[in-house]
Symmetry: C2
Subunit: 435 residues, 2 copies
């Protein structure tokens, strides 16, 4: 889909002015999060691949140009220029799934000023949302623990179908096991999972008939047991499991979606165990997030897996990431703006990750130590790296996530200056000199 | 875009079972919000037109079917059936822009059970988000007042490009004046607006040169005055206005985007007035929402208009609407589920709006009084009404909005049972009888 017109109008009026004045020299913009994010001790960078695809689709269609013409704001030569415009820039970025922090550049985009300006809205829109969801998903995984199966159930509450695709992708990248979103399964190769709804149970004369029918029609049945009474539901599940046993088939799990999940999970576990079905697992869902999963586990809840929907897909406690895209360098050198309470990082930088998540942001001309996090992924508008192998990267991210030091893995809000981001002498000098 | 595969996997496994068992009789599902929504004294229904379009695009592509086949869950005859499936149902719904409340059906969908089940995820995804944003936008308008110009600035923080289109549409429907989202302008005919960014100012040797250039290149310039020092910025704007005066051209407004907006707006107003430019307006932006706009006005802030972004597009204080889609009737009559804390509305209903926003939900066979809110908008999968005229409807919605009784217009949270939704004797009898 052509992405040129997905831009704030002011990008176009500014571009028009740059065009008229020949102000189209190379400029560099940095994407970063300015201030500590409440309730987030770290962020998980995501959205790069979708962004690179969108940049390769950057163009204005005939309809777009006719519409812009109708606004009466733009000269014809500028519209002709837009009609031929493609994204030709260079991008340095962190790898998707990288643990990252406010105050450090996550992506640097260098392009002729007009291109760089026109793709601002698109860049922010994609990176802000995927990074937001990946960061939330990481916390949910930390609460659930490395043994639990965690599934994205968010599509019905996400902000549109595209948001649901991003949510499935970003949560899988962070380490989720599957999504209920069938389209995301097809598009991204994410495993899909699902059970049954209350309406299915209600479509049969009684719960037992519904369970029998579903178990017959599904190769790996998971039975939702709380349409009427969850305890009776568990007993009905046992009865069907006994019937299936004779045929060499099994109930995989039962699902609880309402009520006091902790107490119910314990009682259902007892019913299943006493009936001789310790292998039937318990899957819980219903307005879960990292806080509720932590509480569920602390109170002794028993679950093999969690379905997480609404509070994942909208990142309930922090529903938007305030990432910004700021001019950091142009033909006149490093740039920054100085209005109250808002700072910028002047100049092109590298982020060096040092032992134990201590990051150093240093100017390109300075030498850093540690692992450089920004890699060149696009040049001349062409991708330099193959598309991300989500499944492989997910494994790596899970390993990093479940080995995080307690200061980062802790789910409580951090003390104020807990982000371990340092600035190099060269960068500090530049900031001080410009103030 | 084909929408069949945008569904939770369990809709497909349930549908597969219905198909195998010939359980494809007509069923009716209701879309409604169960419980009072914190911080929302009313909701504004939105998203119907996008939903009807999506339902008309309901189909499975060859790629979709090949993918489903690869999952090993579905029989070939079911996949063949899906390949031919279109949405053929009937829909009764409130008009977009209708003030509405939790506990009443906003939409009823009647179709063969399999179709009705498969479109659940899509229906919830679209209606939940547009209704969420329209409801938030209505509150922002109430805070800004009927005289203020309010513009959607949300695209960079919305959850994807599609979310940004929905946000522009729903906020315009609620009564916003414009959007910064150029693509939304083209697709929905919404007026587009925008000023300039800090990076534009920084692209010139100094602020004054930037202002002069922009005023020359833009027919209706709005100058952003807080890149460096907003007071000096206001003086620079005055200087450019004086220069333009000689040429018969004007500065439309100045924009403040940071700092203490209330105090700055007063000081900038004084500077503009004293320089003889009472017609230059002040536009403010920067993490605004209804609470901040109300405080800004109460503290004496002076603004002609407001740009509202992040907190509109993600509905910051309530980032998801928990609308549900429940089976209410099938070939066996009215249906409801009874698990703890979750109730349903059994049977097909009408919502009657009576004097002063007292709503009565009554069974179809009962006669109600007042204005019936649910209208038949689709039958046999075909739209019965033309596409909504957004601009016309926006005018009507604004009139209703700014004439709301104080109990609804108040921005503070309502006392618990404040929603004026009553249930008819027939409905109450049905619920009691089934408990």
């Amino acid at each position: 889909m052509p992405t040129g017109l997905f831009t704030d109008l002011y990008e176009l009026t500014m571009a028009h002015s740059y065009f008229r004045r020949g102000l189209n020299q190379t400029a560099t913009f940095a994407y970063f999060v300015r201030a500590p994010v409440p309730n987030r001790r770290f962020l998980l960078f995501a959205g790069l691949d979708p962004l690179l695809t969108a940049l390769q689709d950057f163009r204005f269609t005939e309809e777009d140009l006719a519409y812009l013409d109708s606004l009466g704001l733009f000269a014809q030569d500028f519209l002709d220029f837009l009609g031929k415009l493609r994204f030709t820039g260079e991008i340095w970025a962190m790898e998707e799934g990288e643990i990252c922090f406010p105050g450090e550049p996550l992506l640097l985009l260098t392009a002729p000023r007009i291109e760089a300006q026109l793709v601002e809205t698109l860049t922010l829109n994609i990176l802000n949302y995927e990074t937001l969801v990946a960061s939330k998903a990481a916390r949910i995984l930390l609460a659930a623990g490395p043994e639990a199966v965690v599934v994205d159930f968010s599509p019905r509450r996400d902000h549109g179908q595209e948001a649901a695709l991003h949510a499935a992708r970003a949560s899988f990248l962070a380490g989720f096991h599957a999504t209920s979103n069938t389209l995301a399964g097809r598009l991204y190769g994410i495993p899909v999972a699902g059970t049954m709804a209350h309406s299915y149970v209600m479509s049969f004369p009684d719960e037992l008939s519904a369970f029998r029918a579903f178990a017959e029609d599904h190769p790996r049945p998971v039975l939702l047991i709380d349409t009427y009474d969850p305890i009776q539901g568990a007993r009905n599940a046992v009865r069907v499991a006994q019937e299936l046993w004779a045929k060499g088939k099994e109930i995989v799990a039962v699902r609880l979606d309402s009520g006091d999940l902790t107490a119910l999970s314990q009682e259902v576990r007892r019913i299943l165990d006493e009936a001789g079905f310790p292998n039937i697992k318990i899957f819980v869902s219903g307005d879960l997030d990292e806080y509720r999963i932590r509480e569920f586990r602390e109170r002794g809840g028993v679950a093999w897996g969690y379905g997480v929907g609404t509070r994942l897909g909208v990142s309930w406690d922090v529903p938007a990431l305030g990432g910004v895209y700021k001019l950091v360098e142009d033909e006149k050198g490093p740039r920054m703006k100085t209005s109250p309470g808002k700072i910028s990082l002047p100049g092109k930088c590298q982020v060096w990750r040092q032992e134990g998540f201590q990051d150093l942001v240093a100017l390109d001309e300075e030498t850093g130590e540690g692992r450089p996090l920004l890699r060149r992924v696009m040049a001349g508008g062409e991708r330099l790296t193959p598309e991300l192998d989500l499944s492989r990267r997910r494994e790596e991210v899970r390993q990093v996530l479940f080995a995080l030091p307690p200061t980062l893995a802790d789910l409580t809000p951090a003390e104020a200056p807990s982000y371990p981001v340092e600035y190099s002498p060269g960068l500090r000098h530049l900031v001080t000199a410009r103030r």
